[in-house]
């Protein structure tokens, strides 16, 4: 038995631990051991053992997004949170719920649904855990109305790099006491601390939903429609675009939710904007899912979304690629998915041009997800403004760089 495993078993007898299996490789880094804590204090104990032995630590929720962003350069202890899967608190009258990080988003929503409430975060990647959603900050279509993950998260419990447990926020949505560290941890990919519990504000489940979809031949045709939808007063939950081939038609889908009667009227008004649309109470195919296996995330100012679609079309031809484009036109966050054959050189060149374009549109482009072999050849983050400040934050939270080193922008 390895020394590390021995230390873990002694330092944290409550958490099961074993040697890592070949299948548990993170990119090209092989963890030595996997620990399965059952509580925040277990996680703290595991991290303390790691800290004592100066070992690096990475976290796994349900393991659906380990290939997102950069890969860690070292991860000796893999902390698996799948046993921390309880919904700890749900006070329906307060529209608040607290869950352990390993709880699955879909399961949490299943329970909340019994009280006709929801955590309005789309399950973009099936099987996602709450902690994984927070660590990656991955939001889906309904962020247009409901806000992104960071907007819904009101409190966190974290285990710091030194194994100390800390809290920020609370279980009331309206709270301005102290720094809002919950937001800082959202999207930090486990590089600042391990989120073990998260508290969210909830929304009621809408009694009815209506998806309206219309198709447009090109960017010029969709641009005025998108502008009008953005200006709509019908309280849309989401405005999504989908383009399956670079030169193909663009579909715009709008989601409306609410009471049946008024919804019918709101859908009628919205369908008119779309110039006649097919209505459905279920989502269109691909709704809120990430195209891939290489997924680039692009952002732009809202009015540049059509231009961004145009840019992707031009660059596709230029670089001989055929990306699927999908995402939240209502918030200016789009995803391009590239399939086989995966040519790192072509993808790299495409990404560089795309990045330059997104920059002109006021946004950015990053590699959200890619197979390891490809990712190594790509500049995952591109230029990141305020990187120096981010490094200073990392330096304070994890001075020894033991939490998923290399997983984040700028090698953080």
């Amino acid at each position: 038995m390895s020394e590390l495993l021995d230390d873990l078993r002694r330092g944290c007898p409550a958490a099961a631990a074993r040697e890592a299996r070949d299948s548990e490789v993170l990119g090209d880094v092989m963890p030595e051991v996997v620990a399965f804590p059952r509580s925040t204090s277990d996680v703290a104990a595991v991290v303390r053992v790691a800290a004592h032995g100066r070992r690096t630590v990475a976290v796994r929720g349900s393991g659906t997004k380990l290939d997102f962003a950069s890969q860690p350069t070292s991860a000796q202890v893999l902390v698996d949170l799948s046993l921390m899967c309880r919904l700890l608190e749900h006070e329906s009258g307060d529209l608040v719920a607290r869950a352990e990080a390993g709880a699955r988003l879909a399961e949490v929503n299943g329970v909340l649904g019994l009280a006709r409430q929801q955590l309005p975060i789309d399950e973009v990647v099936p099987g996602s855990s709450i902690g994984g959603v927070v660590a990656t900050g991955l939001s889906g279509p309904s962020r247009y109305l409901q806000g992104a993950v960071r907007d819904l998260l009101i409190g966190v419990t974290v285990v710091r790099a030194d194994g100390v447990v800390a809290h920020a926020g609370s279980k009331v949505a309206k709270n301005v006491a102290g720094y809002d560290l919950a937001k800082l941890f959202t999207g930090s990919y486990g590089t600042l601390g391990i989120v073990t519990e998260a508290t969210f504000r909830l929304r009621p489940c809408p009694p009815c939903r209506c998806f309206l979809t219309a198709s447009f031949p090109d960017e010029a045709a969709m641009a005025p429609v998108l502008a009008e939808l953005l200006h709509s007063q019908q309280a849309l939950t989401a405005i999504e675009v989908d383009r399956r081939t670079p030169l193909g038609p663009i579909s715009i889908s709008a989601l409306l939710e609410g009471q049946a009667g008024p919804l019918e009227r709101r859908a009628e008004v919205t369908a008119k904007v779309l110039g006649g649309a097919s209505a459905c109470d279920g989502p269109p195919e691909g709704w809120g899912s990430l195209p891939g296996p290489v997924t680039l995330k692009m952002t732009a100012e809202l009015s540049f979304v059509p231009a961004l679609l145009g840019l992707v079309r031009e660059l596709s031809t230029e670089h001989g690629l055929s990306p699927v484009l999908r995402g939240s036109a209502g918030t200016g966050v789009l995803f391009a998915g590239l399939g086989e054959p995966l040519d790192p050189t072509a993808i790299g060149a495409f990404l560089a041009d795309l990045r330059a374009g997104c920059h002109l549109f006021g946004g950015s482009a990053i590699v959200l997800r890619a197979p390891v072999a490809i990712k190594g050849a790509l500049d995952v983050w591109g230029p990141v403004p305020a990187l120096d400040l981010m490094r200073r934050v990392k330096q304070q939270f994890d001075p020894e760089r033991r939490l998923a080193p290399g997983r984040f922008a700028g090698g953080i």
Partner: protein, 489 residues
Amino acid sequence: MTPQEPIAPLLARLRSRVGSDQLVTDPIELATYECDGLAQYRVVPPLAVLARSREDVRAVVAECAAAGVPFVARGAGTGLSGGSVPAAAGVLVVLATMRDVLELDAANQRAVLQPGVTNLDVTRAAAPHGYYYAPDPSSQQVCSIGGNVAENSGGAHCFKHGFTTNHVTGLEVVTPDGEVVEIGGKAADPPGYDLLGALVGSEGTLGIVTKATVRLVRAPEVVQTILAAFGDIETAGAAVSQIIAAGLVPAAIEMMDALAITAAELAVGCNYPEGAGAVLIVELDGPIAEVAEGLAEVERHCSESGAFEIRRALDDSERARIWVGRKSAFAAVGRLSPDYIVQDGVVPRTALGEVLGDITTLSAETGIRVANVFHAGDGNLHPLVLFDAKVDGQLERAEEVSARILDLCLAHGGSITGEHGVGIDKLDAMSKMFSDDDVETMLDLRRAFDPEGLCNPGKLLPAPRLCGESPGRRKGAHPLVESGLAELF
């Protein structure tokens, strides 16, 4: 009076970097900056700089950093926790002089603002395009966007529309070492750590905001407001619970108790239904069809819970008449009592009834009257603790009551502040809400931005030497309220 070391040499250097009319050294003029809206903490700064540009701010901060002199940002000075109280041997950087709306970009649903722009001016600029700026603190005619960002300000409508933090997409910040950093912009999700999330609500301790980009929200098709009168606070509370349980999301749900209503009647003659032990104001906004149906449902829940009168505003002037009582309530308690403390605490909504009951008991035990005005949707209480400072021992008892109300909030898992911030006033309470480890972790963030501890020191996070401060106390109406510039929530 000539400033002492280390201000004198700093002042000399600043003369070559900013206009002389921007440097305030006159003691009488400086005295106008001695406090914010919570007048009990007062420090006259040795030097104030009226910033007109980012470069001015950068120059001051860089010089302060070089000289190891602390500095404090000040917006409009309406804060209610002592956040912009100057440092005794530091520089006050006044941002209220930077008040240009730099860009109103309706197509991108953004406004780009200098930090001194008032909250209401954003909505004024956006209105012709059919947009508004959603977070609406009741000080909105005066308070600055920079102050809103620092305090993560909210308003009556944040139950549905969120707080400042949900509406800021970009900030330009002069960091405590004098560098200018751009974080985010008009697009969503800037890559990297969510520094915007860390900065909003940081009470001016992480740097000085010199530009803010905020989301504009499409004006709703319709806004509808009702006033419902109840015999007592319990039945009004039951109506709120029913409304929430039914899955309705009103834009605002506000409640006042009998004492607050009495005060409002005396002050503005709001003419609320006679005999009301509590009133609820419920506002819905959105698509016409939806609001109509929602409103009918809200009215039904109110009647079923025992409302004895429900009034529906039929136009803007009727809506204003409903709101006037609510908006005047704080200042109005000046009619009931020579002195009062404005408290700001939060409880989970389901604990409202119990906590209000406890406050009544506390009031009976101590003989200190408490008027309750609150954002019922959020569980954000604003108890007004009434006392007469001329009566021996009343001040101490009132402070005790005010502090114990926060303890009640914490006992129910709530917060010590929902919108007024920690500042100096609640440093003590921070240690009750958060463990030493929690505070130490927050300090990590502060050290990352401000390793030398020069940026608004002594605020937000408790340090051992700053304890035993007394809670917020005010005499009569706030000057802004008196001058008609602001309504107190």
